[in-house]
Symmetry: D2
Subunit: 357 residues, 4 copies
């Protein structure tokens, strides 16, 4: 091997730069050259994408603690489903990716991204390009990965935010509803909700019944605990047939106001008569300096990806379960939602947290 | 003096507990008893308000670093305009406040709050109750106060949030719009925007022209700086006659989507074609442990309030301009919006920050 | 089971309160009473130790985010080696522990602590008291535990501290030496050093050769990278026979100045001529609010300990390896130092970090 | 004016980069060129100092939140007392500074630094070079400055550190002694001590009597408050004639162990029998991202410095008292220690804080 390349795909997340640093340094240590592809596949396929840049050790010096990705990224760059020059639909440009790699002398590719990116990685590997994946997603929803870069940082920030909101909840005897990212998987909501001492946690995996939340609030009120924190994943949905209380502030409308956080806050206000406020953390969860755990994991996974290439073991996603490094075939990468029998759900119930059931 | 009371009014803010601690300890040090009124005037006027509680030194031990207020507070508790038992309108219950104070043996009152609370303080003082005010508002908009408790903490958190959002802006070449509190005064937006390196800052005091922001974004794009941070105060409004671009995603509607942050983000996306995202900090700005500056100011102002009472100087709001303590008559307390010729605006323009002009 | 007790032993660490909360709530949820033993075994054996206190749900409300332990703890409270009333030596008071438990109606004990505490737990279990252990140590050195409460928080703070020191190192072209806790195990130094981008990391497990560090510094200087960060575990020691440069500031003395951090800083200054400064993080690593990961782990381990008791599985230490909960017999608990072939050492070397070899 | 230069002198402090950014952007906005002098006067006088670099807007993009100084700095670079090529003593190289400025076309100089740097600024201005000063020192000890860059950040970090140490103090019923920077002025100790809820604060300006501290500790013990926090400035000294308790661990020695923090901790342990621990914050206080207040002040002061030059008002140090910008002649710059009648000392005493008196 003489030259490899690395890219970041999908939404930005804390830890990407540490992973880039590890890939570049580990490659350099083996005497390989390392290139960085700008803006995901745009750097290989799009003239405006920034192309590829060399990543010698000096280029990755002092970036491990920085959020975002120095290479840039985008949520929309699937070479198998590329937007054609001026029209609709999608075309397959995966052959162009292979040609671009050949042109740049790129013998193997390290792709850092979430399930979308890793699916593309599997596709390219199938076509003959040696690819190794590194799991990255703040949602934490890649099965078998153990660690996905950005998850620990997102949970840390969400927890800090919940800590802050306890103050208002207690001072004003209010319900504070915190909406966190997680369209399909509730891992952030579950971890941050538990860490932040939330009284109710609503996940995409468990359709919620607001009557259950209302019961909890009433019971807390009865114990003179009038401050309530409800954490809601953006993808949480009510149980089928849940009727909403008509909102006098929105005459003639029965549909939801804003996102699920605003909806839950307003409905709880109508159902309980208690002042409720919603806060949406959104993109705040993606930014900022990665927490130490994400940095160490990023360095380990990036280094392991290079080692896998050195050993001729491409076609895999590197994993880190607890302290144990490993790899699983890219073909077997799948999404990991919160299983209904996960021990953490048991712990939540055991601590008296309402899961909207 | 043998017995005083202290209360917190209006929205919660970091620094209230440090101020309570200072009032209680300073009173105790003079041999006075200090009571705490629960939930603003509810503690004096409403049976459910929690009444008054003694605040001996032990009750305020170790609370200086805590956000919120151990006494509780509420935004809606004006004894001069109190909701009558079961009906509409308002009644004046200020005499009941004086009676309640007499009943509890309260000889003087320290009121910690924003302009609403301080106006009530002036009214009660006029009626004969010795009152001293301590300025508290995260918006920083009390004229002459120098420091208002919570402002430094709110600016610190908003700045941290902006720091985080730079990551996404840079990685995705996006416009990130950050909406901060400030319905009438833009101090938080101005300070946090400058501290966070925002490229545009939109204030309630300066009606904004999105064409100016669009020009800045185009100019930055031309210099290959595609990451943009726009900070918007919740009370910022467009210049009269500003036409909005029709939003194809909202057929048949010309009105604004959501708050001003979401509106600005969507309009900039339509005007420039660049991906834009909005984040609303909202109540996150009120919570959390007060920063050191708010704590020190709270201790100074709380102690000074007790000293003013000891010296027979009631009817004033304590102030702290830089390192210089002082006081101004409660009758003269007024709101402080960003003056059009404030030196900080000059600095913003000098640094190339767009103010939407 | 009708009544259990919980205690914290050894040095304080972030996460203890979350674990106490989980034990108390999980016990309560099963209809058991939960007591808290104050100040480790002092609460059972010493009249001044504070005795035992009931821990109903209200007593553990809102404590999950607090550092320290509400029960108190001490480093010196081994009932098998208890200081006799007024003299020297040690006496075995383990029977008194069992008697005290019987007196209080304590049927089982959850002990949260490090290897010392867990060894005592094994001893008491052997004597017939049902005991379950929860691993706690900022050093992260309990074999098989996966998580030890406090480690993640200590690494997070050490990493933040290293981030700060980069500023001075770069601005002054200095060597900054950071000493972290870890008398026998270098896990904190290794994780925080990697996360913080340290250029050299010295561990108790690898005797260090300052010549290796000096070579690295010279090489970095040659590449115009004059800022250097060296992380040293407090228990790191030089290779046998390492000669020290005589210190002209300490005439006639060859011995070390202060701790190993100060020593390394001074020696590097003498060896390289570069300005060097040492910082000792010490007890800063133990305090503060636990990071989210420590809180979630504490809740899981505490809940699992109660579940183990409910299932009649005493005599074990609860574990959490990655996402996988488990348990190992208390008899098999052992210390976990950094193995010389640990993959993280490989990663460190692969990234060009000097390990003093 | 066509070309100015800016430099940073003395120890690094948070806020320097924001000030550099403001000077460069404000100069650019006026059509001037701005140069940066590397490593204080080394950049003008020493071939190895790095010389001067242009600072166009792009060079100062995105640096406002970074700690340290991108120009580098040093504590030892006084052109009036420069070390001669290979020998002892000092020579006056101020003429060389003027010559170097002339050579580079530098018409005026903005110098950002503490009292040492500002004294040099006055000297150079006296010799005909237009100089404007910007006050920077974490110690906060420049009279009339109002703000000195770095002070707010240092106090914020010290306060956070004290917050952390409360956990250990409470859990172990210990005395925690925290030593902060401040050789001659106790501002950091006073502000952080108050903000952190310290029970005793020892300043360089008030020689301390350990008997007073011991009395406080005994009194707190009697009220069952066994956790004690003592904040000590590094320059704090005992009252004349204070006798130390002989330390059995150091036979034959009466002198102090380590710095004043370690000394106070050990003496308190000997005097009270309570476990005591010392932590020295040292260089941790200088690093890290500046807090928002330091950033805003840096931008204001840097911009004001350029404006002063534009208005022909050189020879001054820019000031910011509360919200009020101003300037004082460089010749009148003096050191500001804690005055014995400062209102903050009164507040400290009023809150029951022991000042070692």
């Amino acid at each position: 091997m003489q030259r490899i390349a690395v890219m970041t795909g999908g939404g930005d997340a804390p830890g990407l730069n540490a992973a880039l640093r590890a890939v570049a340094l580990a490659a350099h240590g083996r005497g390989w050259e390392c290139l960085g592809v700008r803006a995901s596949f745009n750097g290989l396929l799009d003239n405006g994408g920034g192309g590829v840049v060399p990543l010698p050790p000096d280029a990755v010096q002092g970036i491990g603690h920085l959020g975002g990705t120095i290479l840039g990224t985008t949520n929309r760059a699937d070479p198998f489903r590329w937007p054609p020059p001026g029209g609709r639909g999608e075309i397959d440009r995966s052959d162009d990716v292979l040609a671009a790699c050949a042109r740049h002398g790129i013998e193997a590719l390290v792709m850092i991204g979430g399930d979308g990116t890793l699916r593309i990685a599997a596709g390219l590997h199938r076509k003959g390009l040696p690819v190794v994946g590194v799991p990255k997603t703040i949602d934490g929803d890649v099965a078998g990965a153990g660690v996905t870069l950005g998850f620990a940082s997102a949970v840390a920030f969400a927890t800090e935010a919940i800590d802050r909101l306890h103050c208002s909840a207690q001072s004003h005897r209010r319900v504070m509803v915190v909406e966190v990212m997680g369209r399909y998987a509730g891992w952030i909501a579950l971890h941050a909700g538990l860490a932040g001492g939330a009284h109710a946690i609503l996940l995409p995996e468990i359709p919620f019944d607001l009557a259950a939340v209302t019961r909890l609030l009433a019971e807390r009120d009865a114990r003179n605990r009038p401050d309530d924190i409800v954490v809601v994943a953006e993808g949480a949905r009510p149980v089928r047939g849940q009727l909403f209380v008509a909102d006098p502030a929105v005459p003639g409308r029965s549909e939801r106001l804003g996102g699920v956080g605003a909806h839950v806050a307003r409905q709880l206000e109508l159902l309980t008569g208690k002042e409720s406020r919603a806060v949406v953390l959104g993109h705040l969860l993606r930014g900022g300096s990665p927490v130490a755990a994400d940095r160490v994991a990023a360095l380990r996974l990036g280094d392991a990806a290079v080692q896998a290439l050195a050993e001729g073991r491409a076609g895999v996603m590197m994993t880190l379960n607890g302290d144990v490094p490993g790899a699983i075939p890219l073909e077997e990468v799948s999404t990991w939602r919160v299983p209904v029998d996960h021990p953490l759900l048991r712990t939540a119930r055991s601590l008296g947290v309402c899961l909207g059931e």
